[in-house]
Symmetry: C2
Subunit: 311 residues, 2 copies
């Protein structure tokens, strides 16, 4: 059994940490706002795969109190990137590895400059998880994680898969982190952007409005084009655009009315992950000379919407 620190125990971090705890791992949760509620009432997961409850999860107010662990699950928002290094450092010992359960492009590379590339994994959760009351996680739909190593090292990846072997999470290994990140953006960019810019709406509203649905498809095709240019430049296998786009739309069609993470951040007045989710993909597309006009427009809108709430 491994020791695990969950840094950024929001909905996603809490859910996957709870799944590892359920599997018998020693999981430490770094909590702020929910500390008292979770210490008193434990952690409840209402999951479409079966509810469960952690009676007495290991909760902490500081990472120093947790100390060095085998694995860090970092599920911070990309907007908290400035704080990430200090929050994680106390949990990093010689053999510690770090999985970024985060959205966006280029974050693993940033973490590598702090902690070394060999430690860094990307964990891409294609899932619908929201948090309601403190200590209560709703796992609404999907839930699989795609795991990849920053250096695409097969041995490291095997270690990563081993962590999840006994947990009730479907974990798939990806041989290319870069490809996996662009694949995730195929969904995140159109559905987060349109859910926000069309007024804070759920995915079913986008799917049900022919004009918004067409815009989502255009955005997705732009992400395919940019991603494949980036992948090609790095000698990585390309995305099969038509197949992936069809699969993303089929999955979204089958989804319950879902509030994408950025839409929730937006309607709740929190900073949104604009730079990692939109800014960095757009910068790469431009550097590679790929035309992404819709991505440029929604990035401008998202940036302005986000900036409007800053002091």
């Amino acid at each position: 059994m491994a020791s695990v620190a969950v840094i950024g125990a929001g909905a996603v971090g809490s859910y996957y940490g709870a799944r590892l705890a359920q599997a018998g791992h020693e999981v430490h949760f770094l909590l702020r706002r929910d500390f008292d509620a979770v210490r008193t009432g434990g952690l409840t997961v209402e999951s479409k795969d079966g509810d469960f409850h952690l009676e007495a999860p290991l909760v902490h107010r500081s990472s120093a109190e947790i100390g060095a662990v085998d694995w860090v699950l970092c599920a911070l928002k990309a907007t908290a990137l400035e704080a990430a290094r200090d929050l994680i450092a106390p949990c990093v010992g010689e053999g510690t590895r770090i999985v970024l359960l985060m959205n966006g492009l280029g974050l693993e590379e940033q973490f590598a400059t702090w902690f070394g590339a060999e430690r860094i994994f990307g964990g891409l959760a294609f899932t619908c998880i929201n948090r309601d009351a403190a200590g209560v996680i709703h796992h609404i739909d999907y839930g699989a994680v795609t795991l990849a190593h920053l250096l695409d090292d097969p041995a490291a990846l095997a270690d990563g898969l081993a962590l999840w072997a006994g947990a009730r999470v479907s974990v798939e290994a990806a041989s290319s982190l870069l490809r996996a990140r662009w694949w995730k953006l195929l969904w995140n960019i159109p559905f987060n952007a349109l859910a926000v810019t069309a007024g804070g709406i759920t995915t079913d509203r986008i799917m049900g409005d022919p004009a918004l649905r067409a815009a989502a498809e255009t955005l997705m095709l732009e992400v395919v084009a940019a991603g494949n240019a980036d992948l090609g430049a790095h000698g990585q296998p390309l995305l099969d655009g038509p197949r992936e786009v069809a699969a993303m739309f089929a999955a979204t069609e089958a989804m319950a009315a879902y509030r994408p993470s950025t839409m929730i951040d937006f309607v709740e007045g929190r900073p949104t992950e604009v730079d990692a989710m939109f800014g960095e993909p757009l910068r790469r597309a431009r550097a590679l000379g790929v035309a992404t006009p819709y991505l440029a427009l929604v990035t401008a809108q998202m940036g302005a919407l986000d900036g409007a709430r800053r002091p």
Copy 2:
């Protein structure tokens, strides 16, 4: 001196009606919400061209009370189109002419089906006018009106100009209503769309954000392309795209921080003029086979934002 009925005495209608009253015309204002305030306190115009006050403007609660006039100034929102016919009909006698001080494409054609094309004029106000308290109009910037006749009849147009001859309003005759309408959309489409979709921001914020400014320019160029296709199909003189775009940006640069009308409607929770300002231009572009991807995206966003407030 002519008799005039102002139907839709919001900021724009009140301002131009007051200018005609100041010039000595017999101007009747149809009022609802502001009736008592204006009857008691008159109409105050705080204008960058000099303030003035109408002590006892002719105010009415119903158009029937006004009866037939020489000129109707219709400054209703395009969203009030269903009510327009009934509101205007009592003011229409044999020789009555109707000037639409409204935004959007295709409205004059609609009015023509009700009242006859020979009566219908388009009045395009390129101006910054807001209403603050009831009976107080702020004329912030610009103020010129471009006047055109639906049938582009020079004699009718001369009559229209004559109405304004003594008023402190700069009125320019346009020989093509269709061209004037597309010209107005060059500004209205980008600045209204981006002011709304970027979160309810003023024009200076768009001008000061390189990404939004670039998006505004792309939108404007799409409107030029669609407009010129429409104008060409109707044998009308085309817009000089580069020159008009440069002029629009220069004018907006010089403008005070301005809240475009649709942005005000949006932030105040009122219906927005989506169909006349975005939907109809997009339909025409599509019918003419002109690619207008940004217009399609912002129209989808504006439609969803507008629809989200309907029951």
